[in-house]
Symmetry: none
Subunit: 291 residues, 2 copies
């Protein structure tokens, strides 16, 4: 069962920690506002020799862009602390030896993929128009070895047509950044569809499931472990605001997990079978413990 | 188990029949060619006082458009004999008392919905551009009572954003024409995404399942029963070429079912647990029995 993180719990946990992996949106900031106390909390961790990493499912920002957001909001950070799904997907493609990709995604992921020397088509609005009879004349590229999908403002059925056609080849990899159903929105009357919606659509067309790079799947942790081989359940805390991605990833890895209630989920949403180790209204509360 | 429909089987079945419900594509015609014998068969049924209805999943044609195809191919038909998912969806909305709809769909379904006096927005490309920050300013209509989805060439995440936002209201109905994963394509290297892809995407964004009007779901039969209250398993035959839509619908309703092998499936595709009552190479074979 989950418990409220108290000062004494925190005092017992703190000395054991070497790594603190934190989600960004809803934990450290909301939109362009840093969440109160988050900066001080991470600062204290660093001063005490803990390694802080930023682990986000956001596929619309490159590693550099996430770093620059950290710095703009005055979170101390270096490039090697930042793990986003755009970067992680590119690194994963490189590991697989993929040379040519059809992408449904953002300029950021295009940048990360091409930066590693991988050929990439599909960025921006599809050239086919809205008359589906014209789709029958679509020209497919030769030699596509992977279909990659992340968040794409220009998502369309024309793109689905191309992606699913490439995926008819059983050797073509199907790799996606994440399955988050929605993007965070300050308007409570609005659902901003997330990458997960794109993936469901593609999966139905292709008739096969993708490999998911983002939380709660283990690919980003596998990449982190390449950088930090001693990252393990005993010395790692995962902090997040989403039970089904952040907390679920931490739980599957055996890490200690902390749900903060400044983003999507709160303690009432907890499924006892998939509960975080701790919950807390906000990172600001820990600042009081450390003080 | 399924059996071949013989002359003696047919002679025993024929007097009991009052209603014959038939799929169109692959049963009565293929593309723009009528299937041999189909016209004569339906003509004989009518001469003997049987009621013939056309029941199709195609959501991109209005009732009038399907009727006009029947007449063009010289099938005797009246508007009230025709059940397509565009019309059936509109009729279902009317039955529910819905007055205002947000539509992801074709001009045909827009026509059917507005013809019944129901207000409908959403036809054609969304007015929001590809910059998702602008979606945050989307103006939602007041009083939308149902989100309706069918095949839409202009499908986009902007549309998903609107649809899922309306569906935040638990009283807003979520109604879709069908879940066919792909459209028929003569190019074997191409997957043409069908309405089912759109529905998977919407379902993920909305976090709830839709009501499906098309075969094999019962909504079209429920509408038929309003017009023909004595339609029942004892007096009804369903004819189709697809096991997972036509035959499955007939089977679930307890109707007698006949698979004809002039379209998608044939006798080798039959799952013994979901078998049609009869199979036959073509409707032309029955003409010989009646003659």
């Amino acid at each position: 069962m989950s418990k409220l993180l108290t000062k004494s719990e925190w005092s017992a946990l703190f000395p054991k920690l070497k790594y603190v992996l934190s989600d960004c949106d809803g934990v450290l900031w909301n939109g362009d506002r840093a969440i109160e106390g988050a900066r001080e909390f991470l600062g204290t961790l660093r001063q005490n020799g803990k390694r802080v990493c930023f682990v986000t499912n956001n596929s619309t920002k490159s590693r550099e862009q996430i770093l620059s957001k950290c710095l703009k909001l005055k979170f101390e950070a270096e490039l090697s602390d930042v793990y986003g799904t755009a970067y992680a997907t590119a690194a994963y493609l490189k590991m697989l030896g993929v040379g040519s990709v059809y992408l449904i995604g953002s300029p950021a992921i295009y940048h990360e993929i091409t930066s590693l020397g991988i050929k990439c088509t599909g960025l921006g609005p599809d050239e086919l128009d809205g008359n589906w009879n014209s789709w029958l004349n679509v020209k497919l590229e030769e030699g596509i070895q992977a279909v990659v999908a992340g968040f794409d403002e220009h998502f369309s059925l024309q793109k689905v047509c191309r992606a699913a056609s490439y995926l008819l080849n059983p050797d073509c990899h199907f790799i996606v950044t994440n399955r988050d159903q929605s993007l965070p929105s300050e308007r409570k009357d609005l659902v901003l569809p997330g990458t997960g919606c794109i993936i469901s659509c593609l999966e139905t067309a292709a008739g096969r499931p993708p490999i998911v790079v983002g939380k709660p799947y283990p690919t980003m942790i596998e990449l982190l472990k390449k950088q930090f081989p001693d990252l393990d359940p005993e010395n790692t805390l995962f902090i997040g605001d989403r039970l089904n991605t952040d907390i679920e990833l931490g739980r599957r890895q055996g890490f200690k997990t902390l749900l903060v209630e400044t983003g999507v989920h709160n303690r009432e949403d907890i499924d006892p079978l998939k509960a975080p180790t701790y919950y807390l209204p906000s990172l600001n509360d820990i600042c009081g413990f450390i003080g």
